[in-house]
Symmetry: C2
Subunit: 244 residues, 2 copies
């Protein structure tokens, strides 16, 4: 019961509320692409898609997408080469699917989380926490986005760039609103947004470091919040960095 209660705040609450699995993301993909997919039955397709995606994320985080062979991928998935090519017409399509579905999911959830919050300070806090929590929940996806961008074909190169700028834009829009309302003191909004983004990214790029030091995502989130606020918040209330 104590454990359940603890999960009602911070990352635990976030995880419970969004309840997002790889299968969910694959189901979206299946339903959006029913027409063109060779495999017709959802009950068969979705678990198999999830198996391929999970195996891809696992193997390519170990050796990189390029170095991952499709034979290894199939044996990790428990399926065959033939099955793989019934779902994806090429290795590149597999890569593109993971990129597109992942980015779209992240974008959707981020928007859902902050849309209803108006005041700049709480909005900034939720944006920061949501990004960190999402990257914790979908750690392998985030790592994949960053590391495998260079393997994308030209037509898809813009997706991760847009995604990077989209997230940064969320931050800078909040900073602008906060400055206009007089609650933030920000000299250079563009660069402030960039370094906030860098801090958020470090959480999934250096996971080995933080998990070795036993830093939790909630600790990191609180720290980053405090660090940013001490640099940009005009007047701090006595408990400015805390929430009830």
């Amino acid at each position: 019961m104590a454990a359940t209660a603890e999960q009602r705040v911070g990352f635990g609450a976030f995880r419970a509320e969004v309840s997002l699995t790889v299968e969910d993301i694959c189901r979206d993909y299946f339903r959006e692409n029913r027409a063109t997919l060779k495999i017709k039955k959802e009950a068969v397709a979705v678990p198999n898609l999830a198996a391929f995606v999970n195996a891809t994320l696992k193997l390519s985080s170990a050796v990189g997408f390029d170095a991952m062979s499709l034979r290894d991928l199939c044996s990790e998935s428990g399926l065959s080469m033939g099955a793989l090519y019934a779902y994806f017409s090429s290795k590149d399509e597999l890569l593109t699917m993971i990129q597109r579905q992942g980015q779209a999911t992240v974008k959707r959830i981020l928007a859902e989380r902050i849309d209803h919050i108006r005041d700049p300070l709480p909005r900034l806090r939720v944006a920061i926490r949501s990004h960190l929590y999402l990257s914790e929940l979908l750690h392998q996806w985030f790592y994949f986005f960053f590391m495998e961008t260079k393997n994308l074909k030209k037509q898809n190169r813009t997706i991760p760039i847009e995604s990077e700028l989209y997230t940064e834009r969320i931050i800078t829009d909040i900073l602008t609103a906060g400055r206009d309302e007089g609650v933030f003191s920000v000299e250079n909004i563009e660069l402030t947004g960039a370094v906030i983004k860098a801090m958020l990214q470090d959480w999934y790029l250096k996971r080995w470091k933080y998990s070795q030091r036993k830093v939790t995502v909630d600790e990191y989130a609180s720290f980053v919040e405090g660090f940013i606020e001490s640099a940009i918040v005009r007047e701090r209330a006595p408990n400015g960095g805390e929430r009830p």
Copy 2:
């Protein structure tokens, strides 16, 4: 004359003072490994090593080290497969050489730059600027360090990890000294060091973004300095963020 004068401060001055070329780094490598290298004459070996290293950095920043074929590497270098294997016994040895020599060079220059500065605030400033300037000067090397770590064999995996922690340690040691002397107000030194490192890293990981926005390394350095100091410096002098 005006251009020369401008180079006396910031990155221009740094570049002039350290005057570091790829050939210099290759010369170090040649002299340290004279005994085991097949090619004996320095005047022959050093330019050819530099040609291979330059070509490797260029091609692998475009497609990744793994995807770079040795045939492409040779034609980019203007030398043959046979020549390549007279200098490196395997593709992996080429990778290891670039990692080791690069990291050692960075470590050496960083130490040279800060060793003589005692007071925490100026020491922190020089550490931050030196790291940013070095990553600007050796941009391809830094990018290579980060992106190609996963391709290293297990025996060399510890090198980039040590290097990451070494740089972070330089920062956290300064923070600790500054706190002890009462000039810094830092609650969590470990995490503060980690996010400072993240900001330094962003400069070479997102070069496309900053060059597109026409942000210079000196502008970025000044901003990061100011951002960090507004979060950790106890009392700021009226011109606390500026230098004469």
